[in-house]
């Protein structure tokens, strides 16, 4: 049984030998061109003059195109058709592509792209949420507001009211492989695009539209990405369209990859949020009502901002039963990079908001922050009367009560809490702090029709299995998990399953590999395809042996039928000789979901995935520097398809979440230019930033929802476990004070912000 085995990543050996090929590693035909964009360095303005003569004259340049030179308008937006490939008349952010150069080398293209004479008459630029609010610069006309009960009345009637503001910075994806795409023009106008993308189908659509071709003439392929994290859901469209457009114009293969600085300057990042909160609590620590205002900085185009902001609202309850709630979500348009999908897709911001409320209330009530949270948890599964979320979904599978208990026991929470207090009492400069964060994350695309997947499986007469599906591999181990599913269906070892590149020519009309849904959706589709082929094989062998098909057993690389035992290859050959098709497609759509976005009501999620983390830090009051000393995590991956890969997602997600909330700071100057555009200035966690003690375990248990082998999605939820580090820093900072002032620590909690919070403790 291959399912549940802790197998290595399918490409592990290729990774460690340097043989795994990414887009930029593919050998190019001799006449290939390399592309680079010329960028605006003005945040908002009218293009008055664009002189490209020096660009054209630069060494190695073959083609230079601005918006007006395109055969037809090219749009790269995933949603609202509001992102021209190249700026048309106006520029909307500093970093926006204005023209594209094709040259004989990557470097020649980059050199040429800097030689344009671009004159932009500046217009007032809206850079901050305050400026956007004041100017009424927003998407969707006005705020989206969801009410459950009368939150204001509930807060007014409560024993205690806490209110405040939480600033949450954005986050650059910093996939190690930058954006890249390659277009190979074929005969009769066909275009073959190889791209580093989480969404080959969307790339296909955007390329087909830009080239004026039917979708059937565009094939998009992706074997693997060097990291995605949401940053390659829509942000690769521009490169793919650019290479296709220039390939069509020149008839030559074209490749484009962003230099790292360009990648930072051009592409979108996680949405930064300002969350205003007002919450009422009883003396018993139970929340009575909460009102949130989410100010979401969306950047210049719509991109995926609406569903991101929705998901933030859908996670504003996190793990808690909240009798009355109001959320106002303002989706603000600014002259900055268009914020986009990033692991968690708004969920982390929503969760951080309510976790701040819980932390603040515990401080005000003098209650242990974990105890306060547990008092507000949803009813544990199996609940006789399940609670409902503010948006009306029954919470039938809540397991954080037991999971928290187990985590705290294993991490020795009570004793450590006491030991830390005693240690802190003896310190002059340092304080340790401990913080907790639970996560309950809804699994499914909130746009319900995206919850579908397809697969294509062939069995060959030697017993080898060719596996294809619509999901993409970005490091998460999806391909291996799905191969394990296929191997289990056929009773063959995983080595018999050949994983192949995601390809719109094999499986069409796919959804992005996003929303943590990769193995849920594609695993089921693959299982369906394999089950179909297996049933045909079983039917044929059953008729040969005069038995019923369900008496044919596929296991251990062999097929038992009646008294006979065939190798899987022999069984496949017999089926072929019997003129049985050994190729099948599989299809899956998630059942039981229904979501009314306009009303903010329904069942958007098929199920919830859970986890909890406890983090300990130490803070230095002299400089605000800090270190993470220890993290303990227990995470719910259902019945894990592959525990090793799932643990990897949890460890990596936690550290990425910690990075978002601590050292990763995006800084724009007053003119709207991003000043942190390379790893020299933008600091993702480094090796030494992982917790010194790092205990991660799976909370094993079957998913009550009928998912693939009862597993649960694990891509995004662990990122929110990083919130425990922000809570721990807040706890340590609070220990410098007398308990009167709440630290109100914003994120990213750089040493500078931590020091400012420490100083507030003295005030």
């Amino acid at each position: 049984m291959s399912v549940a085995d802790p197998l290595p990543h399918d490409s592990a050996r290729l990774h460690v030998t340097g043989a795994a090929r990414y887009v930029d590693d593919i050998p190019l035909p001799a006449n290939a061109l390399h592309l680079a964009f010329g960028l605006s360095d003005v945040a908002h303005g009218v293009i008055e003059a664009l002189d490209l003569s020096a660009v054209r004259a630069s060494d190695g340049v073959v083609e230079v195109l601005a918006a007006g030179d395109l055969a037809r308008p090219a749009d790269v937006s995933p949603s609202a058709h509001d992102e021209p490939l190249l700026a048309e008349g106006r520029v909307h952010y500093a970093g926006q592509p204005v023209f594209v150069v094709a040259a004989t080398s990557h470097r020649a293209a980059r050199v040429a792209a800097r030689r344009a004479a671009l004159r932009v008459a500046p217009l007032p630029a809206i850079l901050t949420v305050d400026e956007a609010l004041a100017a009424g610069s927003r998407f969707e006309g006005g705020p989206v507001v969801w009410d459950k009960g009368d939150a204001e009345a509930a807060i007014a009637a409560a024993d205690l009211v806490v209110e405040g503001t939480l600033e949450l910075g954005g986050q650059e994806h910093f996939y190690l492989e930058g954006q890249a795409a390659l277009a190979l023009p074929g005969e009769g106008g066909e275009m073959h695009v190889i791209a580093s993308t989480q969404h080959p189908t969307e790339v296909q659509h955007k390329v087909a539209h830009a080239l004026g071709l039917p979708q059937a003439m565009v094939r998009v392929e992706c074997r693997r990405m060097g990291g995605g994290f949401g940053g390659k859901e829509s942000q690769g469209n521009a490169l793919a369209v650019a290479v296709a457009v220039v390939a069509q114009a020149t008839g030559r293969p074209c490749k484009m990859r962003y230099d790292r600085d360009d990648d930072f300057l051009i592409t979108g990042k996680r949405h930064d949020f300002r969350i205003d909160y007002r919450a009422g609590f009883g003396r018993d620590g139970r929340i009575r009502g909460v009102a949130f205002r989410h100010l979401v900085r969306c950047g210049w185009s719509q991109d995926l901002s609406l569903p991101v902001a929705d998901r933030a609202m859908l996670h504003a309850d996190n793990a808690y039963r909240i009798p009355a709630m109001r959320i106002e979500s303002h989706r603000l348009r600014t002259n900055t990079q268009s914020a986009t999908a990033f692991r968690g897709f708004g969920g982390p911001q929503g969760v951080a908001g309510i976790e701040r409320v819980m932390d603040h209330a515990a401080h005000a009530l003098g209650l242990d922050p974990i105890e306060l949270r547990r008092r507000n948890y949803y009813a544990e599964m199996p609940a006789p009367r399940p609670d409902r979320t503010p948006y009306g979904q029954e919470v039938r599978d809540f397991i954080l009560g037991g999971l928290t208990e187990k985590l705290l026991d294993g991490a020795d929470y009570a004793a450590r809490r006491a030991e830390i207090a005693a240690w802190n009492a003896g310190q002059r400069v340092l304080r340790r702090g401990i913080g907790f964060a639970p996560v309950k994350f809804g699994i499914s695309f909130t746009l319900s029709h995206l919850n579908q997947a397809g697969a294509l499986v062939h069995v060959y007469t030697d017993g080898s299995v060719h596996l294809n599906h619509g999901g993409t591999e970005m490091g998460q181990g999806l391909f291996q998990k799905v191969a394990q599913v296929a191997a289990a269906e056929f009773g063959v070892p995983v080595s018999a399953v050949r994983i192949t590149a995601t390809d719109t020519a094999k499986v069409p009309n796919t959804s992005a590999t996003a929303a943590s849904s990769g193995s849920d959706l594609n695993g089921m589709a693959v299982q369906a395809a394999c089950a179909e082929i297996r049933a045909r094989m079983a039917g044929h062998l059953a008729s040969l042996h005069q038995i019923t098909p369900d008496a044919v057993v596929f296991a251990g690389g062999a097929v038992q039928a009646g008294g006979a035992r065939y190798s899987f290859a022999e069984a496949a050959t017999l089926a072929w000789q019997g003129r049985v098709s050994l190729s099948a497609t599989g299809f899956y759509r998630t059942p039981d979901i229904a979501w009314d976005r306009a009303r903010g009501e329904g069942r958007p999620f098929y199920y919830f995935a859970h986890g909890a983390a406890l983090t300990e830090v130490v803070v230095d009051r002299l400089t605000g520097e800090y270190r993470i000393l220890r993290a303990d995590i227990l995470h719910d991956a259902g019945a894990s398809l592959n525990p090793a890969l799932d643990i990897g997602q949890i460890e990596g997600g936690y550290v990425q979440g910690v990075g978002w909330l601590t050292t990763e700071e995006l800084v724009w100057d007053n003119a709207g230019r991003l000043r942190t555009h390379a790893p020299s200035t933008y600091k993702i966690p480094a090796f030494g930033d992982r917790p010194a003690v790092f205990n991660v375990a799976l909370h094993q248990g079957a998913n009550p929802a009928a998912t693939i082998h009862r597993s649960k999605a694990v891509g995004e939820p662990p990122l929110m476990l990083g919130i425990s580090a922000l809570m721990a820093l807040s706890d340590a900072v609070a220990a410098f004070g007398g308990g009167r002032v709440y630290p109100a620590l914003d994120a990213p909690a750089t040493p500078e912000r931590v020091l400012a919070a420490v100083e507030r403790m003295r005030g």
Partner: protein, 488 residues
């Protein structure tokens, strides 16, 4: 001239090497060796880490993205494609990365695996993986499985094929002897992809020794000296500049020595930061720890102390400590030498006291009159550029300060001494209360700026914090100490 070195054990000859071509571009574009990855093209992510063995047999991990081909002259370059044995047997680092699930997306993996192999080859069982891997970013794993892989191979024997480069160099050294000729102008057009300005004609020179360099540089005062290229490389990869006439000075005899002299410890300008670290770690532990946080292993193995000083950066981490140590700088122009106090070298932002044709020959650290305290503050602990970095040389008698030299980086347009703070310290009790006037004086010595690394207000506040930490250093553990000793 012709450039010659070993690539994965095979000799490579360049009749006319393009001197500003990076090793990374050459590997990927000309040799089709795409296992070495470009993650940032500025030496900050480690995805392009390769192993370079020197003629003396020592092996270093280096960032190929800012390693120029002439820097490989007479050395052995090994890439991820050459890490496994010729028969395909994986290097222990490769096997451990598989066994411990150290790769997810796999893009940083070749660099991480090479960095692990380099640490492993150092045969130091106590080698701290936090240090060995500080220069390798991974966005997927959270590093935990990589740390497990590092632990797993700590005691595995070094595969004999890794040592083969050193043996081969010894055999080949007469043929690979450093060429003294110039790389002829007009070279570089023959390599595929080498048609762009960076590869365009540039005169490159490799001096025989420091005197040879001095004579050449006096004759070519407009030329740029290339040592480790850890900063200069970015002028190529990010600035896309034509660097003009170049001299490659790493390994130049007379520039690479560390010697005890009557004036103190004389450190040649081309001594790498990593070698400096080894030399001073015992004598000045604070400085040693600071040097550990300059760049990362790959950067320290290439970058030199001379470069760290000569580029005049206000946030270079070497100068504040060296100024506090009372270091002097020896500048050389032709046959003439002059020696100045290091702090006098930095005239203003972007301007140093260095005449055309003159170069930094050595830095000399006099015997220490007291204790050096050095603290660096940055957003990220390892491999980050300082928001500020402060150094205090303090001697006390009976609890009062008798000698104080204070210098900061990141607080002004240059690394700068703090005369008023020093004056306030001398004679004062070396205690939290005693340094109060000095804390106030810091604001008169410095008017820092706000930028993406920190605000002006924070810089001043943290500068005071650093001084207090220097005072309290003996009383409370610094943050790192708590990390190691205080955790439950």
């Amino acid at each position: 001239m012709h450039l010659a070195f070993l690539l994965n054990g095979e000799r490579v000859d360049f009749p006319d090497a393009p001197p500003t071509r990076t090793t990374l571009d050459w590997l990927r574009e000309d040799r089709g060796l795409t296992g070495t990855k470009e993650g940032c093209n500025e030496g900050d992510c480690g995805a392009c880490t390769v192993l370079v063995t020197d003629p003396d047999g020592s092996l270093r991990p280096l960032n190929a993205c800012i390693l120029l081909l002439p820097q490989l002259q007479g050395r052995a370059l090994r890439t991820i494609e050459g890490l496994a044995a010729p028969d395909g047997t994986l290097h222990p680092a490769q096997q451990a990365m598989i066994d411990h699930h150290g790769a997810q997306c796999g893009f940083c993996t070749p660099g991480i695996t090479m960095a692990l192999a380099a640490a492993h080859a150092s045969a130091d069982p106590d080698l701290d993986p936090d240090t060995a891997l500080a220069g390798n970013l991974c966005r997927c794993t959270g590093y935990a499985p990589i740390a497990r892989a590092a632990r797993a191979i700590a005691h595995a024997p070094i595969p004999d094929w890794i040592a083969a480069d050193a043996r081969a160099l010894a055999d080949l050294s007469p043929h690979l002897a450093l060429s003294l000729a110039e790389i002829p102008r007009g070279s570089g057009g023959s390599a595929p992809g080498a048609t762009t300005p960076a590869d365009a004609p540039a005169r490159a020179f490799r001096p025989r020794d420091v005197d040879d360099l001095a004579a050449w540089h006096a004759a070519h005062p407009e030329a740029t000296l290339v040592a480790g290229a850890t900063d200069l490389g970015l002028h190529l990869t990010k600035g896309l500049r034509d660097l003009g006439r170049l001299a490659f000075i790493s390994g130049t005899p007379g520039l690479c020595e560390i010697a005890s002299t009557p004036e103190g410890l004389r450190i040649g300008a081309a001594v790498t930061i990593e070698d400096l670290r080894a030399a001073i770690a015992q004598a000045a532990p604070d400085f040693g720890e600071l040097v550990r946080r300059i760049g990362a292993t790959q950067v320290r193995a290439a970058g030199t102390i001379g470069g760290n000083i000569a580029n005049g950066s206000p946030i270079g981490d070497g100068p504040p400590a060296l100024i506090a140590l009372g270091a002097t700088l020896t500048l050389r122009r032709g046959a003439a030498r002059r020696t100045i106090a290091l702090e006098d070298f930095f005239l203003a932002y972007g301007r140093q006291d260095r005449a055309p044709g003159e170069f930094v020959e050595a830095v000399t650290i006099p015997p220490s009159p007291g204790t050096l305290h050095v603290h660096k503050v940055s957003k990220r602990f390892d491999q980050d550029i300082s928001a500020l970095c402060g150094a205090f040389m303090i001697a006390t008698e009976a609890g009062r300060v008798t000698h104080a030299r204070v210098a900061f980086g990141g607080m002004a347009g240059t690394p700068k001494r703090a005369p008023l703070t020093e004056a306030a310290l001398i004679g004062a009790p070396w205690s939290e209360a005693g340094v109060a006037p000095a804390l106030a004086a810091l604001a008169q010595d410095y008017a820092p700026i706000s930028d993406m690394r920190a605000s002006a207000a924070y810089r001043l506040e943290a500068a005071r914090g650093i001084l207090l930490r220097a005072v309290a250093g003996d009383l409370v553990p610094p943050v790192l100490g708590a990390l190691q000793g205080g955790a439950a």
